[in-house]
Structure formats: structure tokens, C-alpha cells
Symmetry: C2
Subunit: 345 residues, 2 copies
């Protein structure tokens, strides 16, 4: 693979690099005027997700506009439940909503899974191919999936929630159904990621967005074994695992076949290195709200961030960039990294 | 003070006790049928908060019904912004909402603070006196306050939020106003807690409900110094500090004049003891969703919890009890503790 900018891949390969690579979660989205213009002309979010040429176009926008070191395919973690047979809607200013939620074992048994579900997501693989073509080897392309617990959480809860207490109730009341559902989701994710890799993604990231809602014991039972299985199933490309908020799980995740560990902004690099040493690349973790600050402040915090992490670091925010973040703030963040050079010893 | 049940106070005093005390955050509330009956007869939540006889009545309900080892005064953390001049509404099924939010330094300067604000909360002190009379020395009464950052978060954001990004934006963009606002809130909290103690509360708890949204650096700057000041100002009764989600701050909080540290359910007792040893009493931290499980499962997890914490422990959930928790589940939790005895060596 001959990429013009392979900094992300060299970093994931533990090579010595001149500076850390940078990309942002949700970099393709409302922060960009060209995204808002395109999105405004469409019927809705799902039209964008399901139309390969459009998904490719918005995936490439931040590479053009921000000059980041990687693209991440524009999609949604909820395409997997949909492929399994549970449709979702994206309600403007509210978020995802499932007209039907999982309430019985019979429903879990009826869900499609594995290759049969993953083959319904051809539009995603087509978007990957179109993006690769459009990127023309400028930067690597990241593919992603939600983690099994996070997807179960939406499928049972029916939408966003502060506590996801319906989904957690299912784990406590019906552990057997829960495991069956998690297994079916896991099989689908594995097939889905394999298809995405076949279509051309260079890296995959697993997002466990609601990891922080489970106790350490529940996370060990209902989340970690499935993430471990997914990470082990990904061959040929590096894996980044991001279990937002589940700081307790970092030592265990560091034993998995994951190349990098994503960190939210509420934990310091030094603490993580104290847990797991230098064996994994770390990704993160500027507070997304830092980008509301003045230019000088963003610059200062960005430099402090790279100095705290030292090498073996992929610069990112600790969460997806918030839609109302000023584009100038995002550019300051990216440019500060692009102008940075690691000190030589 | 001659309380029939002084287990909580003896535990906070590091005395050897026969079993840990138990109470629940939000124990006075929708889990109790007698609360729902009373609440249904009223115009709204704020009528209940602001009518001393009614607040006292619902404060005592869980002592009667659940036989917990402490009462906690029924009130709301948002009475403080209101006393400072920023009214809130409690919207059914949505939560708190501020018709006016803090957007300028002039607004911050105009807010009332300290004794002048705290004296507007006579109805709370009256509720404390009425509760003490109604409890008739059965169990201790806990008074509480929101922490400065959490109160600022509501005053700037205007209501609940997943990210509180408007409030965090203010910390990043206007650190000076933020500190002025935090100082005024802190002075009010101190006066308020002193008045509550004068009215008769036996313990106070500081709730930093949104602690987990700040980075370690921001929490150190905008939250910890104010909590330290409040903890140091409380004389004559023990203090419990609960900074939900801010695990990074536990070592620093353990240096404050706080007697106990509240823990959410996403951190294990052993990890906390690894940070701070045995010098503080720990409170928590069962996952609130555990109470949706079957009787036997609740019993088992409760015993595991007390065994994990060992002594110097106040049993509680890791968050307020969720309103749809089955009363039987709550009773199993409480009764398992009441029937427990620490092993003797």
C-alpha cells in the first residue's frame, strides 16, 4: 500500500515517527460548512449514510478542509442493528430512535446475524470503495463499528438515555438472552468488519460509547469477552478500541489483539501508562470543549497534550467533536500538531 | 445527641461497628407509594420542596417504610441558584429548566450570595427542624448541597445535558467570570450548610453530580479548590463528598477535611483503597440497576459489596435510586445489610 501520508499506519506499527498523527472523531459532520450545505439538500441523515457517493464525499471533506492524517468512513453504528432486522430512525435534534425495541427472547432469536446480516450492508462497502478511489492514496481510511454492548444498549433502550437503565435491566434480569443477543451482534460485527477490510479500509476502530455505564463486573461479563473476540478476528489491519468511560477495563483491553486504545478526556496519559506501560499506542484525548477556547489556549493545551503522551500517540479528542465547535478552533488543533516535531534525544 | 440508631455517626467516627449503615440517595421519592400519593395531590415538585411540613413528611417516609439508617432532607440542589436570584422550574418528565441562564459578567455580579442568599432558604431550615421533630431521634438526618461546579453547570446550561458543553465553554472562554461565579456559589453553600447544621442536620453530603464531565486539569482548577473550602468550613458534623465520575480526583479529595468519600458504581473499592488506603470512610456503590434483578441476585451482590469494602463503609447505591426500581428490590438490599454482621477476627 503506497499512501502519500502513512503516519497513522507507521505509528500503529510502533515505528519512530516525526510527529503524532491526528484525526478527529466526527470530523466528517456539522463542523464543516460543506457538510452542512450537502446535508441541507437531502431528505435526512439516513439518505447520506446509505448513498455511497454521498457518504464518500463527506468522508473526504475533512481531509480536504482540515488536512487531517486519516479519513474515517461516514456511517452510523446503528447500521448493524438495522442489518439484523431492527430498523432505526434518526430524529432531527433528538438522535436515533427505534420504533421497535428488543423485549423478548423470541425477538432476539428472530434477528439475522453474521454474514447474512452483514451482506445487507453493501452500501457501506461501496462507500468504502468510492472513498478509497476519491482519496487516491492521500491518507489511510478508518472503518468502524459500535461494540456489542453499545449496540445492545440502543436496541433495548430504543434511543439515547442518561442511564440506559432499560438495557442494563435486561442484563440483570435476562443474562441468557443478553448473551445470545451479544453473540449475534458480535458475529455480525466480525463479518461487517471483514467486508469493510476487503473493501479497502486500512484501520478499524471499535466504539464502545456506553462502556462507562456498566460496573466493572458487568463490563467484564457482558462487554469485554465480545470485544476480545472481535479484536482477535480482525486480521490484516490494525485495530483501535475505544471504551469510553470504562477506565477500569484498560488493563484488560491492553491484553487483547488491539493495536491502540482510545481514551476519553477524563483520564491522564500518565495514569494509563502506569497501568499498561508502553505496549499499546494510545489515542486521544483532548477535551472537546477545549476547542471553544481562544487560539493561544488551544495551542498551549495541544502542546501539553503531546508532551504528556510522549511518543506512541495518535492525537484525537476524547470524544466526537461537538457540532457547534468553531472551525477555527478545530484548525488550530490540527495545525498545531502538523507543525509539531518530536524532540530528538 | 442521643439517637436510637447512631450507626452512621459511629461509622463516620471510625468506630468499630457491628455492620455497615445503609441509606440510599433519592430514597425519599418515587420508589415509595406513599410519596407518589402525596406528590400526586400537589401542584408540583417545588410545592413539596418549599413546604416544610410536606418536605419533612417525605423525608421520614423511607425511614418508616425501608427502615434505613439515616434520613436525608427532601430538597433540591437547585434551591441555591434560586436563592442567588436565578429561578428554576421543574418540568415533569424533563427535569430542571432555567428560564434565564448566566451569559454575562454583569449577571454574575448581580447574583446574591453568602448569608444574604442563604437566608432566603428559611423553608429548608424549617423543614430540617420539622424533620428532626418527626424523626424523634430515631436516625440521623443528612443535609446536602450541590457542589459549585455542578450548580454552575445548571446555571449556565439552563437544564440537563449530556455534555454540558455550554457550561464547559464558559470555563474555557471566561475563566475569570467562572471563578467569580464559583466563589459566589461557594459562599452561599457555606452559609447554607451552616444554617442547616444550626437547624439540626447531623451529617452533610456534597453532591458534585457532573464532576465526571470535566478533565482532570479543569476539575483541579474549577472544582476541587471550592470543594476543599466548603469541606473545611463545615464544623461540628461529618462531611461526605461525592464527586460522581471523577475517579482521578479521589486522591486529592482524600486530603480534604471530608470524613467520607462517595463512590459511583464504576470503580471498585479495592482500586480506591489502593489510591488512598483506609484513611477515609467510603460510601457506595452498588449499581442502581442491580436492584432490578431477582431477590437472590440482589442478596448475593450486596454481600459481595460489603465483603469487597470491608469495614469503614457506608452502604449506598452508586447513584440515586432510579424511580422505576421495584420497592421489593430496594427492601432486599436494605434488609440484606440489616441482617449482616461483620465477621469477627
Amino acid at each position: 500500500m503506497n499512501l502519500d501520508n502513512n503516519l497513522l499506519l507507521r505509528t500503529l506499527n510502533h515505528e519512530q515517527v516525526e510527529r503524532p498523527p491526528i484525526w478527529l472523531m466526527r470530523q466528517a459532520g456539522r463542523i464543516l460548512p460543506q457538510y452542512r450545505a450537502l446535508r441541507g439538500s437531502l431528505s435526512g441523515f439516513k439518505e447520506l449514510v446509505s448513498t455511497p457517493q454521498l457518504a464518500a464525499e463527506v468522508t473526504i471533506q475533512p481531509v480536504d478542509e482540515l488536512n487531517v492524517d486519516a479519513a474515517i468512513i461516514f456511517s452510523d453504528i446503528l447500521v448493524i442493528p438495522e442489518a439484523m432486522g431492527l430498523d432505526y430512525e434518526m430524529v432531527e435534534k433528538v438522535g436515533p430512535s427505534f420504533p421497535t425495541t428488543i423485549k423478548s427472547l423470541a425477538q432476539v432469536e428472530k434477528l439475522e446475524s453474521g454474514d447474512n446480516a452483514a451482506e445487507r450492508l453493501d452500501y457501506v462497502y461501496e462507500a468504502v470503495r468510492a472513498t478509497k478511489k476519491g482519496l487516491n492514496n492521500r491518507v489511510p481510511l478508518i472503518g468502524f463499528s459500535g461494540a456489542p454492548w453499545t449496540l445492545l444498549a440502543y436496541m433495548v433502550e430504543g434511543g439515547g438515555s442518561k442511564t440506559f437503565s432499560k438495557a442494563k435491566k435486561m442484563l440483570y434480569q435476562e443474562p441468557e438472552w443478553s448473551h445470545l443477543l451479544l453473540s449475534k451482534i458480535t458475529d455480525t460485527i466480525i463479518a461487517y468488519l471483514q467486508n469493510k477490510i476487503a473493501a479497502g479500509v486500512d484501520v478499524v476502530q471499535i466504539f464502545d460509547s456506553w462502556a462507562g455505564l456498566l460496573s466493572p463486573a458487568q463490563y467484564k461479563t457482558f462487554a469485554l469477552p465480545y470485544i476480545e473476540k472481535i479484536a482477535a478476528s480482525v486480521k490484516r489491519v490494525p485495530v483501535i478500541t475505544f471504551a469510553k468511560g470504562a477506565h477500569h477495563a484498560i488493563p484488560e483491553i491492553s491484553e487483547f489483539e488491539t493495536d491502540a486504545i482510545g481514551l476519553d478526556w477524563t483520564i491522564d496519559a500518565a495514569v494509563v501508562k502506569g497501568f499498561i506501560g508502553d505496549k499499546k499506542i494510545l489515542q486521544g484525548n483532548l477535551d472537546p470543549c477545549q476547542l471553544y477556547a481562544k487560539h493561544k489556549e488551544i495551542e498551549k493545551s495541544t502542546i501539553e497534550l503531546v508532551e504528556k503522551f510522549g511518543s506512541k500517540h495518535i492525537v484525537n479528542l476524547g470524544h466526537g467533536v461537538y457540532p457547534d465547535t468553531p472551525l477555527d478552533g478545530v484548525k488550530t488543533f490540527v495545525n498545531t500538531i502538523k507543525n509539531y516535531t518530536y524532540p530528538t534525544n
